[in-house]
Symmetry: C2
Subunit: 600 residues, 2 copies
């Protein structure tokens, strides 16, 4: 027997489940720490996609319970349209099965792997099956199944199946038990928070062990479900065209119009003419060489871009700014959504935002937030085209220091929305290096970089003025003191002048022989919404301007005046009384306020 | 009809070929540039693995020919054991099919995807089938087939099949035509060069368009083929154990001994006792809860590490040093092979080397060379655990500057050899972040870092001495000139003193009125092998030491004296003659020599 016979005995098929059981890190199950996050992420992706398709406001329960040492139960339950019982086994317990792989539109799930990978992970680490409950309508009962995947064949195995009563009219509940750790709890909460920010129409109720909280919806509008489009001629490869033509006996013109996006009668005829093919030739009779000409023609004839507005669903500039501002209270934030573009026939849109200051850490690398199809990307930042593109921009041009990544209190958010996001692996952690996408990211960040530079320049100029003012304010009290000595008087109070020089808001309460005056001067460059609190034994009934609010408590009167003070303006009120007590204001930043209380 | 019914219509299976046709970047076909390299790499992986299994010295032909604008034909032909005709279609035209996936040993191919992915890429970009010729023995004819993959089913389609005469007694020839560019030619040559370095027993003949060259073998020893081992109990997961026990009716003790590595009678009984299971219980009767106890016992009982020496094949320190030295002529190079270790039951060994100076670029990031199972990794450096581990080491401890990566004329080579390399994706570009592997890389680089530090310290000390000497030597001639002026004499020649201070080798020829003397002083700290050349019209027949070699040519006599001069020693010879001509020496580095020719 020849050696090749010997070797041949070892050659055999590998089921896709076996493959991923061995290479589970490719699915995002590389460490016990990630198991919980990856599972929840896959389930939530499915819930949000399904709710979007059914135009339902998503209401999602996420529960993580520790069952024993290193063993956790994860439940994700939604109010989506449900899954018909015949399909439940394949949807949950067969890798490479799904509804979104063959559609050309923006979806969170796109591979038909995610949730089944979690089922595989559960049975691999604990030997347990996954529990699914799903109900499609109030008219029908819910179906409850327990499932595993037969690894050798990648086929679902239904362990049990029963019809049950269920409190929800429709929705899906999935429950998995696997080995994991909760070391990544912070990352899980981050994932949920960012998911909630970019899905403002969804409500998440979260139970982690004995903690309960809700991330509420801030919008009641279901975003329109992206509509599936036909493939664009520019993105077709010869092998695919060959397969499509072989399977059709339509005449060329009709074939083109029926199967592709943005081809009408005129363009179809032009393609035919360019390829020197008769528009009535049956496409399954076209030979390989002519197919090559046809493909060339399809890619040279001018055809409008695919209809991105239908099939894509960007987060939008407004929503990005709102979410980031809420989270980080930034000194500067700007977002931009680029026009749609195409790579390999896939429509995509890049959105980005740059934030500065606020609650961002002042030192170290910029904070990078990556999103793909409205899903936050949490792992493999170093492997992602978003990161490498950021590193390849010269941030020094925009007044930002850089060591590979930009540094300082900077936040960079990038969202890539595409009909097919080119992830580097099945775990969907990082976007592959596609030049067209990288170019769009570069362009949008350069645009935003210019805005950031303007802000930083202005801020630096302001800082210079501040420094000068500060120097003057240091000597002012000394001069005042000297003058006081010369004139043998108490030194004059310089706070007001200082406030003016420092461009601050100055609140001054002065009590002189039973006459009380309160004055607020806005020396800043902006409008200020000020609430003045004056707490004393004076009821101030004869105040020149009545307080907006008065409260008495044990003989102490809290009087509140609330005003919007334009830059440079002031507000003054006086009354008679004994003075004393506490005076303060709210609504003005800590470093912009001076409060003076003078009792002469 | 409920909405779920509507949605269900779109749910369907996705064939693995469809999946990778859409996600071809996961296979390393993300850009036309990469197509050629990925294809050649996959074919060579197979050839080298097959030759190793058959204990054949590999002789591999790689040919890349441009057929037309952007269309290339790639041929890889080996002298391996060949593939029997029944298996050819599955091996080349079915994703997830192969002989090495289920084996536990170090192989280049491990996924059963590579070469079929190239076939898929060829048919996708040019619509052409792939040509395979294979012959398993001189006793049989060769089989020639053309193949494609049916994408919808991931099954091979044999377009043609004939038996042919073939000049080679055994081997395999694969020929693919696809769209690509040759922009990455430099990277291709790099890949071939490094592959040849770590496979010194292989010969590569390379034809790229009209260039031909050979990377010859430098060793005639076929490295021993790693032997497949059984899984180690420490790496088993519950799901796998459940499957194994369900499929066996052996008693527990025999089951453990037969199916696992390093379990003998004694350990098998200990595992049984720890799990409170009777060693004669039939394993297919063990329930899930008891299986959990069994697994715990298998992972707590002390069991020797898997037999790494059989199943792994490291490059070895000697070979790494040899290859790197040849390539970069380094000033410093040191390699280390760590003891074998285990992650998730997979044996692995980390080897590394650090080089310094020589032909390495003096500026910028360190050069990082990554290898996995003797295959160079060329892409996605940023996504690789090797890179992140290097970045996480504090190189300043070892006298190396660092900005994320270490910087300067430094080369860092890391080879991970494993029974299952945890690649981040099917393209096998980067190693996933597995803590145990990262720890081994850290340890070996820290060891090497300490050696590098010693070298750099010594070099810096030498440099300090040199700087001082240089300062003295700058003023010496000035002093000499001044003295000459005072004494009204020509300034004394200070070269000799300078040579002494600078620790150099000084050759001095002096002609004084017909008396010629030649003297060599070795002021360096090392032995020097010096050849002195004296070319003049003097035959030097009365030389105090006869030349080792004399040659006359047109009245000019070349006299050569060859000596090994210990540090601090000198050599002197004199003769009578007219002097003049040329004097020089060989064998001394350029920056360590001073030649003085004085004619008084």
């Amino acid at each position: 027997m020849v050696l090749a016979d010997e070797l041949a005995k070892k050659q055999q098929s590998i089921s896709v489940a076996e493959f991923f059981e061995k290479n589970k890190h490719m699915l995002g199950f590389d460490s016990p720490t990630r198991g919980i996050i990856t599972t929840i992420k896959e389930a939530i992706d499915n819930s949000l996609d399904a709710c979007e398709e059914a135009e339902i406001l998503p209401d999602i329960l996420v529960s993580v319970q520790k069952l024993g040492e290193g063993v956790f139960r994860v439940v994700v339950e939604d109010n989506g349209p449900g899954i018909i019982p015949e399909k439940i086994p394949n949807v949950f317990a067969k890798l490479l099965y799904g509804s979104r792989f063959h559609q050309i539109r923006q979806t969170r799930g796109q591979q038909g792997i995610g949730i089944s990978a979690a089922v595989l992970h559960a049975q691999l680490t604990t030997g347990t099956s996954t529990l699914v409950i799903s109900r499609v309508s109030v008219m029908m009962k819910a179906h409850k199944m327990t499932l595993t995947i037969k690894t050798e064949t990648n086929e679902p195995e239904v362990i049990s199946h029963e019809e049950i009563e269920w409190m929800h009219p429709h929705g899906t509940h999935v429950e998995l038990v696997f080995k994991s750790t909760m070391q990544a709890k912070k990352k899980l909460l981050e994932y949920l928070k960012y998911t909630s920010i970019v899905n403002p129409h969804a409500r998440f109720r979260i139970e982690i062990d004995d903690e309960f909280f809700t991330l509420d919806r801030v919008s009641n509008d279901v975003p329109p479900c992206p509509i599936s489009i036909k493939p664009h001629p520019y993105g077709i490869e010869l092998g695919v065209l060959k397969r499509m033509t072989a399977a059709s006996d339509l005449p060329l013109k009709e074939f083109l119009i029926k199967n592709f996006s943005k081809i009408g009668e005129k363009i179809a005829l032009e393609i035919g003419a360019t390829a020197r093919l008769n528009p009535i030739v049956r496409v399954n009779t076209i030979q390989l060489e002519q197919l090559n000409h046809l493909l060339d023609a399809m890619q040279t004839v001018k055809i409008p871009a695919p209809p991105a507005s239908q099939c894509l669903s960007p987060i939008t500039e407004k929503l990005i700014v709102k979410g980031m501002e809420k989270e980080f209270q930034l000194d500067f934030i700007k977002a931009r959504t680029r026009p749609s573009n195409v790579f390999d026939g896939n429509s995509f849109i890049v959105e980005a935002a740059i934030g500065y200051g606020g609650k961002l850490p002042p030192e170290g690398n910029a904070m990078i937030l990556r999103f793909a199809n409205r899903v936050p990307l949490l792992y493999q930042q170093g492997a992602c085209a978003i990161t490498s593109t950021i590193a390849n921009i010269n941030w020094k041009n925009y007044g930002v220091s850089q060591q590979n990544l930009p540094m300082g209190p900077i936040l960079i958010l990038v969202h890539v929305a595409a009909t097919n996001v080119p992830f580097t692996s099945e775990s969907k952690d990082a976007i592959a290096s596609i030049p067209k996408i990288e170019r769009e990211i570069t362009l949008v960040l350069q645009e935003l970089g210019r805005d950031l530079k303007l802000f930083l320049n202005r801020r630096n100029k302001n800082k210079l003025l501040d420094d000068r003012a500060r120097a003057i304010c240091t000597v002012l009290p000394l001069i005042a003191k000297k003058i006081g000595e010369i004139l043998e008087l108490p030194p004059p109070n310089t706070s007001l002048i200082e406030g003016k020089i420092m461009r601050q808001v100055v609140l001054k309460k002065k009590s002189t022989g039973g006459k009380i005056s309160i004055r607020v001067d806005n020396y800043t460059m902006n409008d200020q919404e000020v609430s003045v609190y004056d707490i004393s034994s004076d009821p101030a009934r004869n105040a020149t301007i009545s307080p907006d609010f008065v409260m008495e408590m044990e003989g102490e009167y809290t009087k509140v005046w609330k005003r919007t003070l334009p830059a440079g303006e002031n507000f003054e009120v006086s009354y008679t009384g004994v003075g004393g007590g506490i005076v303060d204001m709210q609504g003005v930043a800590e470093n912009m306020r001076v409060v003076v209380d003078v009792d002469v």
